[in-house]
């Protein structure tokens, strides 16, 4: 059981007032809030041991290097990767995807096929379109049904000997659907295609076991996991990371440099050119440890309770339609009021101190599928409460009254 009041006390931002009302933060799928312990880690880093890592012999540099590498191990432990050097610290999910998309330019030829899903965020569509333009590979799309679920049979038909790569998100950011990635990974491996799973939306709710999952690549961002912005991870199987060419050249990623020839450093440094986000990496580790102290099973159970409660309460509002009605979903509710633009609803909710996301959620193909301009998306976290959901329902009713005058 969660002691919600204790947990809420860990997040200083939750005591803010917005437009004269207590902040109700339901935009967790965009970014999560930061607990004091993570804020403290950031302050301690800059006030006690800020230094560049991996090459200084002085004490500060050694302390910073130790903390950074310790964070990498914490991340490895959390995701159950086989080796710490399979965890590349990046600026976030988008950066991680681009490292892989860029590297695969060398492996693909004209006529090869890569598969994405219709549920993807733009960041998991555009890099692959660019890859196709560079190589002449063909992009295939797994369609969705009206519940916002991938049509598995259609995927089974798309996979063939021509398939070289498959990219799917673990959880859809716009709808919250949990995708059948275990099946997708197995089926893709049967034809020797590599699989990248975008875990940005899944990781706040689900603790993936990367060795059991057997994905070739898995990517995530710290800022959705109670960590800071500007840091994330690329997990890749050692054999893939050794094969992939480096993405950026610079310091840190080299073994030897001369004007005739440069040899690259080993993993993980090959992909970490330049001075990394040292403080961010350290805080990422602290954030994961914080969430693990609460426990991901406890978090998932509580968020599921919030999801069920909110779904039931919101559906009492006449004319409210929920998009994404899979039985397998995380605590995300995307909805619209009949004949009312999501922007208008979001504007009224903000006046009442409620933060939701409105728009197409960087997933335009999904909005086109449902023939809507966008949705209002409320996404819940373990520090939210049923009382806040009651306030949301009341506020949506108010928005409806005001906008239907």
């Amino acid at each position: 059981m969660l002691n919600i009041q204790n947990i809420r006390n860990d997040f200083p931002i939750l005591s803010r007032q917005i437009n004269g009302n207590p902040l109700i933060y339901f935009d967790n799928a965009a970014t999560s809030q930061t607990p004091q312990v993570v804020i403290d880690a950031i302050v301690t880093y800059y006030s006690k041991y800020n230094a560049n890592i991996h090459r200084g012999v002085h004490t500060l540099s050694q302390e910073a290097t130790d903390a950074y590498e310790h964070a990498r191990q914490d991340i490895q432990t959390h995701f159950n990767a086989k080796h710490a050097h399979e965890i590349i610290l990046t600026s976030g999910t988008t950066h991680s995807i681009n490292i892989v998309a860029n590297g695969f330019s060398e492996f693909l030829k004209k006529g090869d096929e890569i598969i994405v899903s219709a549920l993807e965020h733009h960041s998991n569509i555009v890099p692959w379109q660019m890859l196709c333009q560079r190589t002449g590979a063909i992009l295939k799309v797994i369609p969705i049904n009206l519940n916002g679920e991938l049509i598995v049979e259609a995927f089974n038909e798309l996979v063939s000997e021509k398939t070289k790569l498959v990219f799917v998100n673990h959880v859809s950011n716009a709808l919250g659907t949990i995708n059948p990635i275990e099946h997708i990974i197995k089926k893709s491996h049967n034809v020797n295609a590599a699989v990248l799973i975008d875990g940005a939306q899944a990781c706040p709710h689900i603790k993936p076991d990367l060795q059991a999952l057997n994905a070739d690549f898995y990517v995530a961002s710290a800022h959705k996991l109670c960590g800071p912005t500007g840091v994330g991870m690329l997990y890749g199987k050692e054999k893939w990371l050794n094969k992939l060419p480096p993405y950026q050249g610079g310091g840190e990623m080299i073994a030897d440099v001369s004007f005739e020839k440069t040899t690259y450093a080993g993993l993980p440094h090959k992909f970490e050119a330049g001075t990394p986000n040292i403080c961010g990496g350290i805080a990422f580790g602290v954030a994961l440890n914080y969430m693990n102290t609460i426990g991901f099973e406890t978090i998932a159970a509580y968020e599921n309770e919030l999801l069920n409660y909110a779904t039931k309460q919101l559906l009492t509002i006449e004319g409210l339609k929920i998009y994404g009605t899979s039985k397998q979903k995380t605590a995300v509710i995307s909805f619209n009021l009949k004949e009312i633009h999501p922007y208008d609803v979001g504007s009224i909710l903000n006046q009442l101190g409620i933060a939701v996301r409105t728009g197409h959620h960087c997933a335009q193909p999904i909005m086109d599928f449902f023939e809507i301009p966008g949705t209002v998306r409320a996404s819940f976290s373990f520090y939210n409460t049923k009382a806040e959901i009651d306030a949301l329902v009341k506020a949506v009713k108010k928005a409806k009254t005001m906008l239907s005058i």
């Binding site: 437009n19 633009h341 922007y343 208008d344 979001g346 301009p373 005001m402 005058i405």
Partner: protein, 149 residues
């Protein structure tokens, strides 16, 4: 000559002052928003023929269409949006800028938007097309001003 001056439209600054006065009578945000929603509903729609991709200003969230034409050395703007609050703000912007001389539009400042508490709708983060619309209004004015010269 005197007659001409009498006929001239109220200046941009005067209209802005009027709007600030009107908004100062509202007690709370709800009255302000209800007024904007009303305005949004009463805004004469842009003629369907101008609701084209050429005239669209795509925000991340709501769409805005703007069309401009010259009439006796003043610019007449018409506009529309798919979101009602956005439309209400458009109505306010058109009241200020439509039927004005291009030179006055170019030189006008828009600080009244802060004063009536609608700044958040015109911040770059809102991506509702309004900030781009304001830019577009000024760009049309610059274009027509060049024609007059």
């Amino acid at each position: 000559m005197y007659f001409c001056v009498k006929l001239q439209a109220v200046s941009i600054q005067e209209i802005q002052n009027e709007i600030v006065d009107e908004f100062s009578m509202f007690d709370d945000w709800m009255q302000r928003y209800e007024y904007m929603i009303e305005l949004g509903k009463s805004l004469p729609l842009i003629e369907e023929q101008y609701k084209t991709d050429d005239n669209i200003i795509k925000g991340c969230q709501s769409k805005v269409w703007v069309h401009a034409k010259m009439d006796n050395n003043t610019i007449v703007y018409t506009a529309d949006s798919d979101a009602i609050i956005t439309k209400g703000i458009i109505a306010i912007l058109l009241r200020v800028f439509s039927n004005q001389h291009p030179k006055d539009i170019i030189e006008a400042n828009t600080s009244f938007i802060d004063e009536i508490g609608l700044k958040e709708h015109l911040s770059p983060t809102r991506a509702n097309g309004l900030l781009s619309m304001l830019k577009q209004i000024k760009l049309y004015a610059i274009a027509y001003q060049t024609q007059i010269k």
